[in-house]
Structures are given as structure tokens and as C-alpha cells.
């Protein structure tokens, strides 16, 4: 789909998820340029690596994913944020709609194809 892989920042406080997300995203079309475990780390990573996409967990220790989204988009308005959570889609649907994020993916449904669909606005 993409000749040049899209650069991704993964923000999640679970190391296992960050590693798994890197593994699956880098199988096709994405390259994970940075990982962060909290809001502060995410802001530092965004400033230094300028990713095109940010994958942000909704439940972080120092802030929720919506705040992180707002913070990251203040640094780079062109950044495309996709929220992820191991919670049910229904539980967060309304707040995802109200946010600046491009979309939401349940964590276990994360694949390069699903992420591309959201970024293309088709999911």
C-alpha cells in the first residue's frame, strides 16, 4: 500500500503491548519510531521523532488517552492519533467521537490493515 512505511509512536504503559504492537505493525507498512509509557514520555518522543501516526492507549497512569491526544496534536496538528484500549468499543464510543482522534481500535483487533483503514477514514 505504502512505499515508504508510516512512522508510528506507540503510547501505552504496558511494555508487552508496545512490543506486540511493534511486531505486528512492522510486518506491513508501518515502522515504530518511538514508544512511550505515559504523557510526559509521549510528548518528549513526539518532539524528537515527529511521527506521522500515534497509537495511544486510553488508560495511562498520568493522563487519559484523550488528554494525550490533545497534547500531541498541539505539538503537531498534522499528527494522526488512533486511540486503542482493551476496553469495549461501546464503553468509549461517545468520548472517542468527541475527541480529535482519527478513530478507535480495540487492542486485540490491531493489525496493519485495520490501522490503515482507520487512517484512510474507512473504519
Amino acid at each position: 500500500m505504502h512505499v515508504v512505511p508510516l512512522s508510528v509512536l506507540v503510547v501505552d504503559d504496558h511494555v508487552a503491548f508496545r512490543a506486540a504492537a511493534r511486531t505486528i505493525l512492522e510486518t506491513h507498512g508501518f515502522t515504530v519510531v518511538a514508544e512511550a509509557g505515559d504523557l510526559a514520555g509521549a510528548v518528549r518522543a513526539a518532539r524528537s521523532t515527529h511521527p506521522e501516526v500515534a497509537l495511544v492507549d486510553i488508560g495511562l497512569p498520568d493522563a487519559d488517552g484523550f488528554a494525550v491526544t490533545a497534547e500531541l496534536m498541539r505539538i503537531d496538528a498534522a499528527l494522526q492519533v488512533v486511540l486503542v484500549s482493551s476496553r469495549d468499543r461501546l464503553e468509549v464510543a461517545s468520548r472517542v467521537r468527541d475527541s480529535q482522534a482519527r478513530g478507535f481500535l480495540p487492542k486485540e483487533e490491531l493489525t496493519p490493515a485495520a490501522l490503515s483503514m482507520i487512517l484512510a477514514g474507512r473504519l
Binding site: H14, A16, F17, A19, A20, A21, T23, I24, T27, H28, G59, S86, R87, D88, L90, E91, V92, S94, R95, K107, E108, L110, T111, P112
Partner: protein
């Protein structure tokens, strides 16, 4: 001097008592000798004429010893001992003189000297009593001017004593014929003038001492007044004793005369004793009003009795048995009058003595007598003393804990009046000290003690209920917190691991979509997704994260999505305390699940409306109905009760069920 007195007061009092005892013993021996000499008609212990002297001696000795020992700095104790010593000298000297100068002349040395010297001794008690009156109850003169009166009393007393001593006629009966060896006939005129002036001023001092007591009473604060009331109680006896003495003198009952006279002389020292020791000051008013009441009552009954007996006797003068009938009728009338008369007179006297306290007590009594009264006792007490700020705290079962009538803990200040029953605290009353005297509150509380005890029991019960409710709330809050922790742990632990594993497995299939193990891996992913879903359901059951994040609006919406039938929602975005939201959420889930399971409705209407610190949640279905409004939905009932809420179930068979829950949600 006073410091030395204080240090050695015990020893000094003992020495004085011993001296008085020895003197009295000698006096008795002398009397026995007089009797043996056949002169008992002149001077004997059985002569009622001496009883007043003995009574006064005993009373002054007792009161003086007690006061001097307990309050050595207080002059009145010592003054009473001086009175006793003076009286003892008078009595002892007289008996010495009678035996040595009359009964057996020459048998005792210096009998004439002793007789003459001790004859003047009555001046000593006279002067000391004037000082007692001037110094009671504080031990100080009212002012330097009054001190001058005291000095004048002592000076005039000394002049009087010396002037008498040099008077040839100093000896009175029975020693009137014994010559005075101290007589100075050349100074006879000076002696007479000295005696006249000394007697006038000295007795004037006594009178001024009595005036001093009245001045103190008028100027005095409440406690000092009470101290003086003890003397008033003694004064009350004066007209009775005087009357009795007059009657007995008139009728020739000398023994009775001595009893009345003796009681008068004994009363003054005895009544200064409680006044100075501040003994039972608070009871004195009641005692005094009782005494006045019975005095008046006696007079009323006696006069009625006399009048009736006289009238009936005169009316029946013609009949021989008239006298007996008159007595019978008079007795009957007087008896009938006693009981209501007592109450009337008591009321009138109480009103005179302490109007405010009397009125306050009447308010309490009226309340206690009125079985239909529904005011609480603290309201009654507040009304009684006219202080709306009066509050009552009750002793709870827990030691040291006070609670309001409703059972909430409260801390009375140090100024509060602690009402006790057998020294066990019952209630603590606080009021505006500026408007009401403490004694009024004490009296009113004493009147209401039984009612206060009842209220204490109710307050203790209320306290237990409050504690029960609080402990249930704490348990629910703890459960809530525990469930949240569990949910958090499930979410952060097992669920995250499974999600990561899913992604890794999917990466494997993506890397080699056509590999020989691809179907197995896909199956594993499907199984894990089911497991994740199950964990999520468990977590949601423990405590829905959506409730924490989005409140009732989001969680009701979520519930509506999951429910297989039509659910209409009316719920605002307002947030409430976690336990309120949790209870509302639990009730709604339970009610909806119950409706779907048993009533098979086609629609459910959910409403949550907050107004006036109360969240009202309504769950209405159009199902089969028939829920028992008293006993049905026990788990909902328990949950609502724990939150301090209300529950209403309207359920008609065939016409659906409406459950209305009200939850307090004030801040």
C-alpha cells in the same frame, strides 16, 4: 500570727476543747459538792434556768471547733470558741463562787475573787457574738467603716467589763450577798458611767451586727445570699421561740421556757456553721420556703380551728354535747384545709422567694403532667428558662461520648451543666449563661431528670442506628473500592497479556499466511479473543469502568445497547458521588434484568432525575407486573436501604411494574 494559727489550728482547737472539757468536769464536781452541802436549791445541774447557758455553750463549742479546724483563717470559728470560753467561765466561776462563798464558806481559795471576776464574763460572749454577726459569712468586715464598729464593740465591751469589776454590786443572784474584793468605792460614779456607756455601745454593736447581715444580704451575690439564708432560717425560729417562751413564762412552764430560750441561744452558732462551711447552699432556699410554708400553714390551721370551734361551740351553746361537736367539726374543717392549703401557700411562698426558678419549674411540671404533649424535653427546658439557645446532649453508651437527641456526636463545653443520676452522667445542658442563672437550670433539670433519662435512652438508640447506617455505608464503600481494584487488576493484568499474545500470534499469521500452522494460530487467536471477552464481562460485573468514566448517562446508554429490548432513556450528564452512582447503577441493572427475566416487557423506560439533593431513578416496564410491593426485589431493597434511600414498587398484574428509588445525593 494567722500563718501560725493555720499551721497549729488542729492542736490549738484540741487544747481549747480539752480546757473546756476539764472546766466543765470541774463545774460538775463543784455542782455535786454544792448538792452535797445541801445547797442544790441555790445552784444545780437540774435547774432549768441554766439550760439556755448549757445549750449555748454546747452549740458554740461544737460550731467553733468545726469551723476553726476546717477554716482556721476564718475568725468566726475562734470567736465561737471565745463565746464558749466566756460562758464556761461564767458557769464555772458561778459554781465555784457558790460553793466557796455561800455553801461552804472558806472551803475554796479566793472564792470571792473568782465569783466577782467571772460574774463580768457575760460581756465576753456578748462582744464576740457582735463580731460574729459582723464577720459572717465571709470572715471580713464589709468595709473599714464596719471594722470601726467591731473595734468599738471590743472597746466598749472592755470598758463595760472593767467598770463592772470595780462595782461593789457586781454579783447577781444567787451571789448578790457576796462582797466584791475588786470593788473601788471611790470610783463608784465612774463605774456606773462606764457600765452605762459600755452596755449601750456594746449592745448597740450587736444591733449593728444584725444590720450588717441585712446589708450583706442586699448587696450579696447569689451564693453569699444563700449562706446568709441559713441565718435567716435561724431567724425564722426567733418569733416561734419568742412566742413559745412568752407563753411558757405566762403559764409557768419554766422547763419549756428554758427549752425555747436554749434553742434561741444555740441557734446562732449552729446556723453560722453551714453558712461558713458552705454546706448544702443549694438546698437552703427550698428548706427555707418549706419552713415558711409550714409556719404559715400552722397559723392558718390553728386560727381556722379556733374560729370554727368558737363559732360552732357558741351556736350549739344550748346543747350539752356542743363542746364535743364543735371540736369534731373544727378538726374536720382544719384537716380538710391542710392539703390544698399547703399547696397554695407553698406556691405563694415559692413565688415570693424565687419567681423565675418557680416559673421555670412550673413550665416543666405542666409539660410532665400533660400526657398529650409532644414537645421534646430540650424544647421544654428551653421554653422553661426562656432561652431558645439551650441545647441538651445525652451520654451515649460509649464512655465519654455525648450525642444529640438524633444520635449525632457532639462535644459539650466545660460550662455545660452535667445532669447526673447517682453520679452517673445523664445529660449535659448548655445555655446562654448571660440570660439564665445556673441555679435555675439546675432546678429545672432536677425537675426533668426522669424525662431526661428517657430521652437519653432514645438518644442512645438513635446513636446505635446512626452507627449501624454508617457502618453499612462504610462496608458498601469498601466493597466498591475492592471491586474497582479487582476490575483494575483484571484489566491491567490478565487482559493485557492476552491482548499482547493475540497481537503476536496475529503477527505470526500475517508473516506467513499460508504456513501449515496458520489455521491453528487463527484458532488460538479466536479462543483468546473469547477469553478476553469473558474477562471483560467479569470486570464489568465487578464494577463498570464506564460508570466511573462516564457516569450514569454513559452507563445507562451502554446498558440500553446491550439490552435485547427497547429501552428509552431520560438521564442527564450530571455526576454524583461514586456510591450513589454505584447504587443507582446496581438498582437499574437488577431491575432491568429482573423485568426481562420474569415480566417479558416490550419496552423499558429508564429515568434518572436529580432535584433537591435527591436522585430519583425510575424503572418502568410494560411487562406482566405482579411484583409484591412489600417483599419483592429484596436485593434492591437492601441496596437502597444501605444508601439511606427510599424504594417504591407499583406493580399491577398485567399492567407492568414501576420501581421508584430515591437516593440522597447532597454534598
Amino acid at each position: 500570727v494567722s500563718a501560725a494559727l493555720e499551721r497549729r489550728s488542729g492542736a490549738i482547737v484540741t487544747a481549747v476543747l480539752a480546757a473546756l472539757g476539764v472546766a466543765f468536769a470541774c463545774h460538775l464536781v463543784l455542782l455535786a459538792r454544792i448538792s452535797a452541802a445541801g445547797a442544790s436549791d441555790v445552784f444545780s445541774l437540774g435547774d432549768p434556768g441554766f439550760w439556755p447557758g448549757y445549750a449555748a455553750l454546747g452549740a458554740a463549742t461544737f460550731a467553733g471547733a468545726v469551723i476553726a479546724r476546717r477554716q482556721p483563717r476564718h475568725p468566726v470559728g475562734w470567736l465561737h470558741l471565745v463565746v464558749a470560753a466566756g460562758l464556761m467561765a461564767l458557769l464555772g466561776g458561778s459554781s465555784y463562787g457558790v460553793l466557796g462563798a455561800l455553801a461552804r464558806p472558806g472551803s475554796l481559795p479566793a472564792a470571792r475573787h473568782v465569783a466577782a471576776a467571772t460574774q463580768t464574763m457575760f460581756v465576753v460572749p456578748n462582744t464576740a457574738i457582735a463580731l460574729v454577726l459582723l464577720l459572717t459569712p465571709t470572715g471580713h468586715f464589709l468595709s473599714p467603716r464596719w471594722r470601726r464598729v467591731g473595734l468599738a464593740g471590743v472597746a466598749s465591751g472592755s470598758v463595760w467589763l472593767v467598770a463592772q469589776l470595780i462595782d461593789a454590786d457586781v454579783n447577781g443572784p444567787p451571789l448578790e450577798d457576796v462582797a466584791n474584793p475588786f470593788a473601788l468605792p471611790s470610783l463608784a460614779t465612774a463605774s456606773l458611767v462606764g457600765q452605762a456607756v459600755g452596755a449601750l455601745v456594746s449592745n448597740g454593736t450587736l444591733l449593728v451586727g444584725a444590720v450588717s447581715l441585712f446589708v450583706r444580704f442586699r448587696r450579696g451575690e447569689r451564693d453569699e445570699r444563700r449562706q446568709l439564708l441559713w441565718l435567716a432560717l435561724a431567724a425564722l425560729w426567733v418569733p416561734v421561740a419568742a412566742l413559745g417562751a412568752a407563753v411558757s413564762a405566762y403559764s409557768g412552764h419554766t422547763n419549756l421556757l428554758s427549752v425555747f430560750g436554749g434553742s434561741l441561744l444555740a441557734l446562732l452558732p449552729l446556723s453560722t456553721l453551714p453558712a461558713i462551711q458552705r454546706y448544702r447552699l443549694y438546698g437552703v432556699e427550698r428548706l427555707l420556703s418549706r419552713a415558711v410554708t409550714y409556719l404559715l400553714l400552722t397559723m392558718v390551721v390553728l386560727s381556722v380551728y379556733g374560729a370554727v370551734a368558737l363559732l360552732v361551740g357558741r351556736a350549739l351553746a344550748g346543747l350539752t354535747t356542743g363542746g364535743e361537736i364543735a371540736v369534731g367539726v373544727a378538726t374536720f374543717v382544719a384537716t380538710v384545709l391542710v392539703s390544698p392549703g399547703r399547696r397554695r401557700i407553698q406556691t405563694a411562698v415559692d413565688r415570693r422567694f424565687n419567681r423565675r426558678e418557680f416559673d421555670a419549674i412550673q413550665v416543666v411540671r405542666r409539660h410532665l403532667a400533660d400526657a398529650a404533649a409532644d414537645e421534646r424535653i430540650d424544647e421544654v427546658l428551653a421554653a422553661a428558662v426562656g432561652d431558645p439557645s439551650l441545647t441538651v446532649a445525652y451520654r451515649a453508651d460509649e464512655p465519654g461520648m455525648w450525642v444529640t437527641g438524633e444520635g449525632s456526636p457532639v462535644t459539650p463545653t466545660d460550662d455545660a451543666l452535667v445532669v447526673r443520676r447517682q453520679n452517673i452522667p445523664v445529660a449535659a445542658i448548655e445555655w446562654a449563661a448571660r440570660t439564665t442563672e445556673r441555679d435555675t437550670v439546675v432546678a429545672v433539670a432536677a425537675e426533668a431528670l426522669a424525662e431526661l433519662e428517657n430521652e437519653q435512652l432514645r438518644a442512645a438508640l438513635a446513636r446505635q442506628l446512626v452507627e449501624l447506617r454508617e457502618s453499612r455505608s462504610r462496608i458498601v464503600a469498601a466493597q466498591l473500592a475492592e471491586r474497582r481494584t479487582l476490575e483494575q487488576n483484571l484489566h491491567d493484568g490478565a487482559q493485557q497479556r492476552l491482548v499482547a499474545t493475540t497481537l503476536n500470534l496475529r503477527a505470526a499469521t500475517l508473516a506467513d499466511p499460508d504456513g501449515p500452522l496458520a489455521p491453528a494460530v487463527t484458532e488460538a487467536i479466536a479462543q483468546i479473543r473469547l477469553a478476553v471477552e469473558e474477562l471483560r464481562e467479569i470486570a464489568r460485573g465487578l464494577h463498570p469502568a464506564i460508570l466511573v468514566d462516564g457516569g450514569l448517562a454513559a452507563s445507562f446508554e451502554d446498558l440500553a445497547h446491550r439490552t435485547p429490548i427497547d429501552v428509552s432513556l431520560t438521564v442527564g450528564d450530571e455526576r454524583f458521588a461514586p456510591h450513589v452512582e454505584a447504587t443507582a447503577w446496581y438498582v437499574v441493572c437488577e431491575a432491568v434484568a429482573n423485568a426481562i427475566k420474569h415480566a417479558h416487557p416490550s419496552t423499558i423506560d429508564l429515568r434518572a432525575v436529580a432535584a433537591d439533593d435527591r436522585l430519583t431513578v425510575t424503572i418502568a416496564d410494560d411487562g406482566a407486573g405482579g411484583v409484591d410491593p412489600e417483599r419483592g426485589l429484596a436485593s434492591i431493597r437492601d441496596r437502597v436501604a444501605t444508601a439511606g434511600g427510599s424504594l417504591r414498587i407499583d406493580s399491577t398484574p398485567g399492567a407492568g411494574t414501576t420501581i421508584t428509588v430515591g437516593l440522597p445525593c447532597g454534598s
